[in-house]
């Protein structure tokens, strides 16, 4: 019985095995069939794929951006600041075989490193020690040639300013972490998102900046001034074409920067600017018809107001017309104007010119002017000739743009995208023309003669203000300035130069006034920038020609016949 059962069992096993076997064969067949049909399908798919489909699959946008920090360019697209990838050298001391040998080898390549410091770094038990940062490609090659184990490169980004200190206060600089610490770099910290595709474009023209910088530096050297300020502004848009403050610094060497050199005298320093402010009150008085061009005011003797006495630097001792008041820069004349007009219109006008607040400006380094506690009669008089109120040069320059552009308020702009046009009209166009003419007279006949760049119809006003030192006015410490406008028949630009504590020279007969120190600089600047800015000169007839001057004659046909 058992045998038969076994046979049966054996049979059953065989049958089951056969069945299992058959099942397995089928499973494999099916698997293979599926796999190969998948292969076949894939081939069909690949063969039938269109060109664009393939392109889409394999090309991604190959972009290269050095970093997320946008480039900065000038109004003509010249590169002012960019990030470059540089290699920095570090060591892993735990991998250095012989610290002494490595130190000597490194000093071969970099002789200005300190032996002690390098040896200390290489023999320390840390895993990461900087040796030298921001290597040039040449230096990199040298290190590679040395073949020291345990020394590695790390790629870093360095903010590079190709123009060095030419735009120091405008650009500012970045700290070691790459964050803007001052100037436009600091402005960028809060505004970078607007400039992902396009670089940040400034209103600055690098050629104008260069001319401004060179003449300012020259004037500072000649007159041994402590510092200097230069501003060039477009009168109709308020755009800043050039802005310089000396002393300055090199943004490429942020570690060498001192607080004195980073002080932006143009936008942050407040000064009693002196007579350059006279045209403001003059224009207002003419606009309000409180004053007319042919009347005369009593400037025969100093004016007593309470316990104060207002006198002139060069007393004329007679009655003066408004034009003469401006040409001879008479303080008494200006005080008389306030007597006629009162202080309220002046206060209103100056507040409208933002003299009571910080200017809205892209540079973070701006400050509010210092105003007198009360704005009564005597204060208004001193303000009329630029004392008793401390302004930043940018305030004054912007106010002058308003004076000569037809009387429209403008806001200073440094970033092209944020440039606004003319605002509300504060003075009539007629007044604007009259004051521009008056400024021209100051240069052609008055104290501003040295600013006269031939052919460019320069107008302007000199200013010489004594600085307050320990509560008293110091005759030896002056703020000498000149504010120029050209061309005065249809003003386009304002050029402002200020020297901080200039000293007279033999050539200036010992004088350090605005007319002798700042005005010539403005003249030279205008001579250089006018052709760049498409201002056509006119052939001026000079009065003192002893020889026939070609430039003074009317254009003749060229002598071809």
């Amino acid at each position: 019985m058992a045998v038969i059962q076994k046979v049966i069992s054996v049979d059953g096993l065989i049958i089951r095995s056969l069945t299992v076997c058959k099942q397995r064969i089928w499973v494999s067949l099916v698997l293979f069939a599926v796999s190969f049909s998948m292969l076949g399908w894939r081939i069909v798919e690949l063969a039938s794929m269109s060109g664009e489909g393939a392109q889409r699959m394999f090309t991604r946008n190959v972009t290269y951006t050095a970093s997320e920090r946008p480039n900065i360019v000038d109004r003509n697209g010249v590169l002012l600041a960019t990030n470059l990838t540089v290699a920095s050298l570090y060591a892993n001391p735990s991998k250095i075989l012989d610290a002494e040998e490595a130190t000597l080898a490194l000093l071969e390549a970099f002789p200005d490193l300190s032996v002690k410091q390098v040896y200390k770094a290489l023999s320390s038990d840390k895993q990461f020690m900087w040796i030298k940062r921001n290597l040039t490609p040449e230096e990199q090659k040298q290190v590679n040639r040395l073949g020291i184990p345990g020394i590695y490169f790390r790629e870093e980004e360095k903010r590079v300013y190709p123009h060095g200190n030419l735009l120091a206060h405008v650009m500012g600089f970045v700290g070691t972490d790459g964050k803007g610490m001052m100037g436009i770099e600091k402005y960028m910290e809060t505004n970078a998102q607007k400039y992902q595709e396009e670089p940040l474009q400034l209103t600055i023209d690098i050629r104008v900046q260069e001319a401004l910088y060179t003449e300012l530096e020259r004037a500072r050297a000649i007159f041994s001034a402590q510092g200097a300020v230069g501003i060039v502004q477009q009168v109709n848009s308020g755009e800043i074409m050039g802005l310089v403050s000396l002393p300055d610094f090199d943004p490429n060497n942020a570690s060498q920067i001192t607080s004195a050199s980073t002080f932006n005298k143009a936008t942050f320093g407040s000064y009693e600017l002196g007579s350059t402010m006279k045209p403001l009150t003059m224009a207002l008085a003419l606009d309000k018809k409180v004053l007319s061009l042919d009347e005369r005011l009593d400037a025969t003797k100093p004016l007593r107001v309470g316990r104060h006495s207002i006198s002139d630097h060069k007393p004329q001792n007679r009655w003066l017309t408004p034009k003469e008041i401006m040409m001879h820069s008479s303080n008494i004349g200006m005080a008389r104007i306030i007597e006629k007009m009162g202080e309220k219109p002046q206060e209103k006008f100056m507040r409208a010119l933002d003299f009571d607040k910080q200017l809205t400006f892209s540079l973070p380094e701006t400050s509010a002017p210092l105003l007198p506690h009360r704005w009564a009669g005597i204060q208004a008089m001193t303000i009329a000739f630029g004392h008793g109120i401390a302004l930043t040069p940018l305030h004054l320059t912007t106010a002058f743009s308003t004076l000569v552009n037809g009387g429209y308020k403008v806001v200073p702009a440094l970033v092209a995208q944020e440039s606004a046009g003319k605002g509300e009209q504060l003075l009539s166009s007629a007044t604007s023309r009259i004051i521009a003419r008056m400024l021209r007279d100051v240069v052609s006949e008055g104290t501003g003669g040295k600013a006269n760049a031939m052919g460019y119809r320069v107008g302007g006003k000199t200013g010489t203000a004594e600085k307050l030192v320990n509560g008293r006015y110091d005759r030896k410490a002056k703020i000498s300035s000149f504010i120029g406008v050209f061309p005065s028949d249809k003003p386009e630009y304002v050029v402002y130069v200020m020297l901080d504590e200039p000293q007279g020279t033999k050539d200036t007969f010992g004088y350090a006034t605005g007319g002798f120190t700042a005005a010539p600089a403005v003249g030279k600047i205008i001579e250089q920038i006018a052709p760049m800015l498409d201002i056509m000169p006119v052939q001026e007839v000079t009065e003192h020609t002893t020889q026939p001057d070609i430039s003074a004659q009317r254009p003749r046909s060229l002598a071809l016949n």
Binding site: L39, I43, T82, P162, E210, T214, M454, E527, P531
Partner: protein, 103 residues
């Protein structure tokens, strides 16, 4: 039955070979593409550096120094600037031009 199987096997081998070739070529092209893209990035980086160098070499002070040293030009003054209209053109020259135009 046997012949079908044979044909099937041959086809199979053919398909497998074809697919293998395609994959191989695709892989090759993919590597080439990566290499080209890497070169593009490298070139862009070089261009970026060159642009910075260009800006550095175009520093107005440097141009001014070189102009003073190598060129015999002076500063532009008002007397050097004039308008085209102020140049009188000789009648003779005008006649010649007209004759040429007619020709």
């Amino acid at each position: 039955m046997r012949s079908t199987l044979l044909v099937g096997i041959v086809l199979l081998i053919g398909v497998a070979t074809a697919l293998f070739n395609i994959e191989h070529n695709a892989q090759f092209l993919r590597e080439q593409l990566q290499e080209t893209q890497r070169q593009i990035v490298e070139n862009k980086m070089e261009i970026h550096t060159l642009k910075a160098e260009w800006a550095y070499l175009s520093h107005p002070q440097r141009i001014r120094d070189m102009a003073q040293r190598y060129l015999d030009v002076g500063r532009i003054e008002a007397k050097h600037v004039a308008r085209v209209e102020s140049i009188a053109i000789r009648k003779q020259v005008v006649a010649v031009n007209e004759a040429q135009a007619r020709y």
